[in-house]
Symmetry: C2
Subunit: 336 residues, 2 copies
């Protein structure tokens, strides 16, 4: 008896059935060689690319809709940090041999939901075969009013460094995800909602687009925290010849992260140096703090002052509750 | 005795040493979260993405500079077909575990040469680890004067279909490359320069940017021929409700391809349906033919009329020297 043949869509059918429905006007129905976009005369274009590979940035067994959402959201996080308004994205999809129409359907649905939710339509892309695992590359585009791009460089002495949301959740979520039920005591001690919260923070980043007005009106410099707070802070300050001293007690932590940290104080290292926070770090002049916090709140975001920038070449320090500096083996998440 | 440790650059060092030197002003030194670009008021933005994966779009053993060049050039070919002027590109690089600094150096040098040659600087990117093979995603940007984008759709009855350069070389080159010295008789019968020519046509596409003025002034519709002449022609004509009849003897072939075809007439199928030509196919109204040819020549390109478009739903036909229609098993190259 012959084995049943699973019919899979061709490349044209993939585009027609799964991706063309997501296309914005600039995508020309995904039936041309390229996308065509007009940029308003008073705007500048902001562009970012992030590559996500199976087993490195997500688990091959993650739900396909979550993989799609994460790929789009990590790009939107970069746009958010630059105070840009998303206008569209291009998707490069290298599919491994074992993809199914069902998987692709879930993937496209997740992408469609987020594209609609963040008003960032698909405008182009390419789908190819991969002999290895899934690789996803998204290039996202946004606009800022001319002259309103928020650079990474530009922190001035005395500026207050703010961060959105909470730090370290995703690094803990990744550790829980890796544990597969055989976790360490801190994981077992977590309440079920706390555990779910941390897992979700790893699975689905929340691009902080609500900070746009706050950044445009009040921030001197900004970046997204994706490779660990300490490493990213070091990078941002170094570009401006600055450094800072942080108190561990001032770093915003979620309730779930506090629960975990109480069980295992060594978690402070992955929480501050692990990746995937996708929060925004920015520098605000003291006279703009009140306005900045007001705009952030209006955008639905909590922002927390971390430290004050001061001139210096040395790495930023984090001091614990006793005022002693913490020493870490790695300052930021590295793939290499 | 401990094994010698090979020190490889970190992600920051990769950016700093290999890619930052290629960055155009919009790339902000590759030290920010995003690129920032101004588009002139009288221009529109054209964007395209192509993904290339190891073992599918190139051989892992190809010279690294050629892999880089091909990835950029296939994108430039899309821009060329839209009569766009390249302005920059973003590079998404998923590197397998066994990359070396030497490989990356060759890769970056090839990319730098082509970026300079085509005046298309690097403006952003992302470098990550791949657990599978190398995956390369380039998003290229170009501009056209407002209203001057050449769409794929828009062929009108009576338009003459033109193609640049020659067809089928790369499909033959790929077959030679796969043969690894144990080729079929047609490969062995080729002269050494003919063989090298075909191999090079597969390895290094030539984006036909010289057709820009010709397209802008005289073409109604255009696309790049990347998935086989017949399949791409079918796609373009179908979008406009057109079809056409081609004479095999009118399809432009290189001297090397003619040599191969004389040895083995069955090669006509891969030549007309294989991928990687990266020529431009376009529709020109009869009254514009003279001007179009003149502009193409001024751009250093040979263009050949293939057929005349006529209304119809049926697939375009190719007739052989005796006027008999050729039948092919596949109309275009497919990865899936």
């Amino acid at each position: 008896m012959a084995a049943p043949v699973t019919l899979r869509p061709t490349e044209d059918e993939i585009i027609e059935n799964f991706f063309a429905p997501l296309a914005g006007p600039a995508g020309l129905g995904l039936r041309d060689d390229a996308a065509l976009l007009s940029v308003a005369d008073d705007s500048e274009l902001v562009m970012t690319t992030d590559v996500l590979t199976s087993g490195v940035h997500f688990f091959a067994s993650d739900p396909p809709d979550a993989i799609a959402r994460k790929a789009l959201r990590v790009n939107l996080s970069d746009l958010a940090a630059k105070a840009a308004e998303p206008i569209g994205f291009l998707l490069g999809l290298a599919l491994p041999g074992d993809w199914t129409a069902e998987w692709l359907d879930g993937f496209a649905k997740g992408l469609a939901d987020d594209a609609a939710c963040f008003a960032c339509p698909l405008i182009g892309g390419d789908t190819v075969k991969s002999l290895g695992g899934l690789t996803l590359t998204i290039t996202a585009l946004g606009t800022v009013p001319k002259g309103k791009f928020i650079p990474r460089r530009g922190v001035e002495e005395g500026d207050v460094l703010y961060v959105t949301g909470t730090i370290g959740d995703a690094a803990l979520g990744l550790r829980l995800r890796r544990g597969n039920g055989a976790e360490r005591p801190w994981g077992q001690a977590l309440s079920s909602p706390a555990r779910d919260y941390l897992l979700m923070r790893y699975l689905l980043p929340l691009p902080r687009l609500g900070l746009r007005d706050g950044l445009r009106a009040h921030a001197r410099a900004a970046m997204d925290v994706s490779d660990g707070l300490l490493g990213d802070l070091t990078q941002m300050l170094r570009l401006s010849g600055m450094t800072a001293e942080l108190a561990l007690t001032e770093i915003p932590l979620s309730k779930a992260a506090r629960q975990a940290l109480a069980q295992d104080p060594t978690l402070v290292e992955p929480m501050l140096t692990g990746g995937d926070d996708y929060e925004i770090l920015c520098a605000v002049a003291p006279e703009n703090e009140a306005g900045f916090k007001q705009e952030a709140a209006a955008g639905g975001l909590t922002v927390t002052p971390l430290a004050r920038a001061r001139r210096g070449e040395e790495k930023p320090l984090v001091k614990d509750a006793e005022g002693l500096p913490l020493a870490f083996s790695a300052a930021s998440f590295r793939h290499f």
